[in-house]
């Protein structure tokens, strides 16, 4: 029993310590997951950096004016672990659509929920789903 409890506490210690370095996120402080924007534009640059990967999308409005949106996602380690790299999936110069949670200050910044790749495939990067296979906000 003592060993079991000690083991559980060691597990907790591992988790807490691991969590401390991981939990540097305040996504909700900057982005509103209930306020979405759908952006279509030319991908000009991808920054594979911490704490969040950044995509830069040149979006043209009806008047022809171009606004560069900065789009955030998870950390690069998470993408790397599942084999999604900058050049495999995200190619500068091609047109992408990003469905994002908009910045609370209404600046041209967003946190990506879903990308639609140049060939039309959907890449979903955000939770908030009732069940697998049933798309929730931002994914349809």
């Amino acid at each position: 029993m003592r060993h079991g409890l000690a083991g559980a506490l060691i597990v907790c210690a591992l988790l807490w310590a691991a969590a401390d370095l991981r939990a540097h996120h305040a996504v909700q402080a900057a982005f509103d997951q209930d306020d979405h924007a759908t952006l279509t534009g030319v991908l000009t640059k991808v920054l594979w950096i911490n704490p969040h990967v950044r995509w830069f999308l040149d979006v043209k409005d009806e008047s022809g004016k171009i606004t560069t949106w900065t789009i955030s996602g998870a950390g690069p380690g998470g993408f790397r672990d599942i084999g999604i790299s900058g050049r495999d999936v995200f190619k500068a110069g091609e047109t992408y659509t990003a469905i994002v949670a908009r910045a609370r200050d209404k600046s041209p910044n967003g946190y990506v929920l879903t990308f639609i790749l140049p060939d039309g495939r959907k890449l979903d990067l955000w939770h908030q789903y009732k069940s697998e296979g049933t798309a929730g906000a931002g994914a349809q």
Binding site: L5, A8, L9, I10, V11, C12, A13, L14, L15, W16, A17, A18, A19, D20, L21, R22, A23, H24, H25, A26, V27, Q28, A29, A30, Q33, I49, N50, P51, H52, T70, A74, P76, G78, F79, R80, D81, I82, G83, I84, S85, D88, V89, A103, R104, D105, S107, N109, G120, R121, K122, L123, D124, L125, W126, H127, Q128, Y129, K130, G133, A135
Partner: protein
């Protein structure tokens, strides 16, 4: 060491929370997972020619690449789910026609709990505040800790991409040992530390500096490597919930190898603000005999701080 009657209850609650977390935390799984060829402490502790325990090796799950991260799924319009370990496997299946181009690719972080990014973030914050083994501050500093916690987005300098510093950095993922020093290597920001073990005292200049890593010297106490670190700044924190320290902090880190397990523990002495030394939660890391390449931890650049309109974090 008496902890009061509530300790068993807290331990039981902590254990329950911990067990639920283990299902969700990739890093924790990687740390807790026995690495290949590293059964237990029944293995004799290897020693260097001078008789010291050999701490050399790769420890825990960090530093490598793919695996254990939940992989990539492709969900067909009819609901059929294809599971892949790696995006390249999905691409091959797509090229071979085993997956349709209409299938939605899912590459979410598997360690987000409750299937909701917002809930996961809030839950992480709650967990760290409620079960985080807080240092015991002198009463006159309680309000400051609370203020720092409540305003952590601005006050916690790791949000601005400053290094976590010692001891928040935690244990190393790799150790190189020579007769005169021990090199500790970390995945976080590709950091390394060289700890002299030749009996020298603290450097008279560096120990008066104010740095994130401090000035460290090591000594062997039996089979335990004890590292004394001084010369810190007061910019880094001990932990996420506002746990600040002063530049008079002294940290004792202890590294001990038992068979194929590395034990890491740190004690923080900061009598200017702490009522008693703070014992950081101990870590136990299995020997990792894998040979996955070490990957760069990309630099940290903050874009978000100026856009944060609420104080929420997790």
């Amino acid at each position: 060491m008496t902890c009061g009657p509530s300790r068993p209850i807290m331990a039981a609650v902590a254990a329950a929370v911990g067990m639920s977390l283990i299902l969700a935390s990739k890093d924790a799984v990687a740390q807790a997972r026995p690495a290949s060829n590293s059964p237990s402490t029944s293995v004799p502790t290897p020693r260097t020619p001078d008789g010291k325990p050999d701490l050399s090796g790769r420890w825990g799950g960090g530093g490598g690449g793919a695996g254990g991260a939940g992989g990539v799924r492709a969900i067909e319009p009819n609901g059929q789910v294809h599971q892949f370990e790696h995006y390249s496997e999905y691409s091959a299946a797509l090229a071979a026609g085993r997956v349709s181009a209409n299938a939605k690719i899912v590459g979410r972080q598997p360690n987000y709990r409750h299937g909701n990014n917002l809930y996961s973030e809030r839950d992480a914050g709650f967990t760290q505040r409620a079960f985080g083994n807080p240092p015991l501050y002198k009463p006159e500093f309680w309000e400051r800790v609370q203020h720092l916690d409540e305003n952590g987005n601005k006050e916690d300098t790791t949000f601005s991409c400053f290094p976590p510093g010692v001891p928040r950095l935690g244990p190393p993922i790799r150790i190189l040992q020579t007769p005169k020093d021990v090199v500790l290597m970390y995945q976080n920001r590709n950091t390394w530390r060289v700890i002299p073990t030749d009996g020298r005292p603290h450097d008279p200049v560096n120990s008066q500096d104010q740095t994130f890593m401090g000035d460290a010297v090591g000594r062997w106490e039996g089979d335990t490597l004890v590292i004394e670190v001084v010369g810190f700044n007061d910019v880094s924190w001990l932990g996420w919930p506002g746990w600040f320290h002063t530049n008079n902090m002294r940290v004792l880190e202890r590294l001990r190898r038992e068979g194929n397990t590395l034990h890491y523990q740190a004690t923080v002495h900061d009598p200017d603000v702490l009522s008693e030394p703070w014992e950081m939660d101990p870590r136990a890391l299995p020997l990792n005999t894998g040979d996955a390449p070490y990957l760069e931890d990309p630099p940290c650049l903050d874009f978000d701080l100026s856009h944060m309109l609420t104080r929420e974090r997790g």
